[in-house]
Symmetry: C2
Subunit: 259 residues, 2 copies
Amino acid sequence: MILIKFGGSVITDKSRYRTFNQERVRELCKEIKESGEKVIVVHGAGSFGHVLAKENRLNDGFKSTSQIPAVAQVCYDMRELNSMIVKELNDAGLPAISVPTGSCYMMEDRRLLMDRTDVLKTMFDKGLIPVMFGDVTMDWKLGFAICSGDQIMELLTKVFKPTRVIFVSDIDGLYDKDPKTNEDAVLIEEVTKKSLETARTDITVDDVTGGVREKMEIMLRICSEGCDCILMNGNVDGRLLSLLKGEEVPCTIARKGRI
Amino acid sequence: MILIKFGGSVITDKSRYRTFNQERVRELCKEIKESGEKVIVVHGAGSFGHVLAKENRLNDGFKSTSQIPAVAQVCYDMRELNSMIVKELNDAGLPAISVPTGSCYMMEDRRLLMDRTDVLKTMFDKGLIPVMFGDVTMDWKLGFAICSGDQIMELLTKVFKPTRVIFVSDIDGLYDKDPKTNEDAVLIEEVTKKSLETARTDITVDDVTGGVREKMEIMLRICSEGCDCILMNGNVDGRLLSLLKGEEVPCTIARKGRI
């Protein structure tokens, strides 16, 4: 199976609170269906989660009861976004069910405890696609905190042993400089431990909390579980389908057995 | 704390697929807020769940892959209903978070395994209202099946030890005959083991899968956990508030220590 993350910058307009990119998501779902591959989908928060979460410092954990309505609102907004994505999957002929991270799991000091996978595995075995997402999640130590979609991707990789893990982003891959402000930025086609050593720490990418360096670290950790891990551009029609069919597309890849 | 179930017949128009009674739910949420009581809310399926679930015999368990899109659709519809209820709770100043039964728990031969309550308890401790509902739920034996809201109520009673458990229905309580077709039907004010012995089995009530007899059995089981269990009419403005304030209202009650 293939594990796919829809980045927040692809599925939402990150500059406007609660703006869903329906057409983009519809296209991605159509391409997954056409590929015939079995997948599990995770998605980010984009403009549905980050604004209010930041304003109310939800990732700092429980500080005051004044944060509680914001916890409820961010959870509500994220489930609304999730519902729209599940609907697009269903409409494309990919039967999907929402599995909200914060409703199902605890964290311990911002580390997700995915201690039970029975529901996820049973859904998948029956031909259903569980759809998880970055979410406010209760935390044994902090009360609550934010669980990122990337963290869910890492844990699902351990559980489902996918052949490939794909991060669908709004850029072709990782660059040596910020491609939005530098015309001579070069795409990093392959991430290795060596490239990590020389990566600059000041370049941000996609909606990632952290930058290129952090994304490389996540890709290498996922890759070390025995699968290729790919970062690609979901804003180009047909590119996800090409990748799923095994064709070469512009992207950044961490190859299994090469790190 | 008080455990409240919004029956499917109160929160939806049971005769029309996916029709939400927003005004009714708004009023009930307002009354809970006004009471100042700490609550947990469960709700039924009504016209959002029963139609498709029945058509595709989802409660018989997995029989064929042709059921799978219906499983996804019923789960989607239920989460939509749930989202509308969570929104009304939030808008009334009661911070609430969806906890979808089928995303979080397994069943074993139609028996819900609520083996972990850490997320529910942490939410409640932080001042959040977890909102569960009747749902298609994965089942170790059957593949999947329907988990009823009533079953969730029983288990949450064991977990949270509420002082009172309230079933909000569309009738004043249980009757000795069907009150919708018999003018001389008499309200059963108190349910005891004795009343169960003489109860007729052919009278249906509310949206209950089963009839008066089955509802009595559930009320007595809940009551045996050490709390009053009450069935009341949520279609009468102010009645839930009166009940929460400890006033006498028309209802059917199973009293702790009296069974």
